[in-house]
């Protein structure tokens, strides 16, 4: 398959999907995380348990939900619980293997901001806010983050810390007694960053086909650490690409019925 036959966003989604272990329970946010999680379920990880904060557990939507509580999520779920139960018994209960988050800003220790750009009280851009993210970030056993790579997003200092990653690095997360082990990978449209095992600083460990480490460093707002050996990920397989595109096409059709 020629290189130009897929987009950087597709590669990002596919790279994220590949990180999902079959059988894992996944707490999924809307957008890229939802696309990656469903792609995984429709390819190599059919036993993945998808959980949305609306209370739907073990859901199997045929199209990507536009909202976190679309009807199909409830119709195809193993169980539908109330939102307080979802946050208390399921997320806080420590039952979720993997949380999957997006972000507007991320720092070198994978702390994220989805609240405001600028000053909190006089924002230049008001973002949607926390939603379920702070407790997904702390209570899931492990967290994946996906967002597009840019200096605006990968910042030296967050304007607002919405959800805790590895805090100030090192053992600062453990000292704060946050239950889960925090972000284990950040998947972007350029490559994958993983926290250094000791300092917890995000380090470039793999790039997408055709992307150079230099390009990733250029698009990061702090002096990005680069692993001695940076792997290049395999390009999307035909099957991955076909399943993702069919999913996106089904989704597009489903969400544009006439008002």
């Amino acid at each position: 398959m020629p290189e130009a036959s897929y987009s950087a966003d597709e590669m990002m989604t596919i790279a994220a999907a590949r990180m999902i272990r079959n059988g894992a329970s996944l707490f999924v946010g809307i957008g890229l995380p939802s696309a990656a999680a469903n792609l995984a379920r429709l390819t190599h990880a059919p036993e993945t348990v998808l959980i949305y904060e609306s209370g739907t557990i073990g859901t199997r939507p045929s199209v990507l939900p536009l909202s976190i509580g679309d009807g199909e999520l409830a119709e195809t779920a193993d169980a539908v619980v109330s939102v307080p139960e979802m946050f208390a018994y399921w997320l806080q209960g420590g039952r979720i293997d993997l949380g999957f988050l997006g972000a507007a800003q991320i720092d070198r220790f994978a702390n994220i901001n989805t609240t405001v750009i600028g000053e909190y009280r006089k924002p230049s851009t008001r973002l949607p806010g926390a939603g379920g993210a702070p407790e997904i970030a702390t209570c899931c056993k492990e967290v994946l983050i996906t967002l597009r790579h840019s200096k605006r997003a990968f910042v030296n200092k967050l304007d607002f810390l919405t959800s805790s990653g590895h805090m100030e690095g090192g053992d600062s997360r453990e000292r704060m007694q946050l239950p889960g082990k925090g972000p284990t990978a950040v998947i972007t449209d350029l490559g994958v960053l993983t926290p250094d095992p000791v300092t917890r600083e995000l380090t470039l460990t793999s790039v997408h086909p055709g992307v150079t480490a230099e390009k990733v460093v250029e698009n990061t707002g702090w002096p990005l650490k680069v692993a001695p050996v940076v792997e290049t990920l395999a390009p999307p397989s035909e099957n991955e690409l076909r399943v993702l595109r069919e999913l996106n096409e089904r989704t597009r059709r489903a969400h544009t019925e006439q008002v």
């Binding site: 809307i30 957008g31 904060e53 609306s54 209370g55 739907t56 939900p65 536009l66 909202s67 976190i68 509580g69 679309d70 009807g71 999520l73 409830a74 119709e75 539908v80 109330s82 939102v83 307080p84 979802m86 946050f87 208390a88 997320l91 806080q92 702390n111 609240t115 909190y120 009280r121 006089k122 924002p123 008001r126 973002l127 949607p128 806010g129 926390a130 939603g131 379920g132 993210a133 702070p134 407790e135 702390t138 209570c139 607002f160 810390l161 919405t162 959800s163 805790s164 805090m167 997360r173 704060m176 007694q177 946050l178 239950p179 489903a254 969400h255 544009t256 019925e257 006439q258 008002v259």
Partner: protein, 285 residues
């Protein structure tokens, strides 16, 4: 015992200027008809409580009903921003909007504490985040047994909660199913409550252990067919995702929003007329 009323009568009787009010429904069963009726009746200085403000609070804020918003995620789900909310926060239009910002877990805990008659709720949350810096209603306490640090939030106790449900029987017992969100907690936490329903039936035929609000914990039940549009009512109609996308254009500028508000909400008698006017606008667009 719940009284079965027309929606305008219920809003007239139970929602007052200055009230703290929760219109709940997590994506599903959002009580849009009730929100519109509050706009029509020109309630002012409301404190609006809701996990996801969604279009319903964007409309109430843009219409000038709100003085304060208590929330945890303020976007147009799957689409983008809530421009009326942003305009109020960023520019104070049409009037300044105070915000009290939580995470979902904190809001859910606060509703559950309210329903439980507790003054506060405890959660493993907010640790490490900047939210407590800007919200005095997030504190930290110690477990009296282990010494662990945990977050505490005061209970939500709205003056009025409004939710939408699928069915009520003629005695006012309410049944809902599907994504049930925090609706039960929000109703039980409130001093007064209004439930709009798709239909009033002779018998609920509720399956065992389903989500039922017995008549005696509900204030008013109002039949409003389609009253959750553009959100959805499982078993009745799907979410109108296209309208959610269209709202992006309607709400982005003050002028288009105001024209929409005047024509479709202020210019209509009730929710049936609103939907008809929306249909006509689409037909001749």
């Amino acid at each position: 015992m719940a009284t079965i009323l027309q929606l305008n009568e219920a809003i007239q009787a139970l929602v007052r200027d200055g009230d703290t009010i929760a219109l709940e429904g997590f994506t599903h069963l959002i009580p849009f008809a009730a929100g519109h009726e509050i706009i029509r009746q020109r309630r002012r200085n409301l404190t609006l409580v809701r996990m996801t403000p969604d279009l319903i609070y964007d409309q109430l804020i843009g219409a000038g009903c709100a003085a304060k918003l208590v929330f945890s995620w303020g976007g147009n789900p799957g689409v983008g921003s809530l421009y009326r909310l942003r305009d109020a926060v960023e520019n104070g239009w049409p009037s300044p909007l105070e915000i009290e910002e939580h995470a979902h877990a904190g809001m859910a805990t606060a509703y559950a504490a309210g329903a439980s008659g507790l003054p506060f709720g405890v959660l493993r949350g907010y640790l490490g985040t900047d939210l407590p810096k800007y919200n005095a209603n997030i504190k930290f306490i110690e477990c009296p047994f282990t010494g662990e640090k945990l977050a505490a939030v005061p209970a939500h106790r709205p003056d009025v909660t409004v939710v939408h449900a699928q069915k009520a029987d003629r005695r006012g017992n309410v049944l809902m199913w599907g994504v049930v969100g925090v609706q039960k907690e929000a109703v039980l936490a409130a001093k007064r409550s209004i439930v709009t329903v798709e239909e009033v039936v002779d018998r609920l035929d509720a399956p065992p252990n389903s989500v039922v609000l017995p008549s005696w914990v509900v204030g008013a039940v109002c039949p409003v067919k389609g009253g959750a549009f553009p959100s959805y009512a499982q078993g009745y109609y799907p979410r109108n995702n296209a309208f959610y996308k269209k709202w992006d254009g309607i709400s982005r500028e003050r002028e288009t929003f105001q024209k929409w508000l005047e024509r479709h909400i202020m210019g209509t008698r009730d929710f049936g007329a609103f939907k008809q006017s929306l249909e006509e606008a689409t037909q001749y667009a």
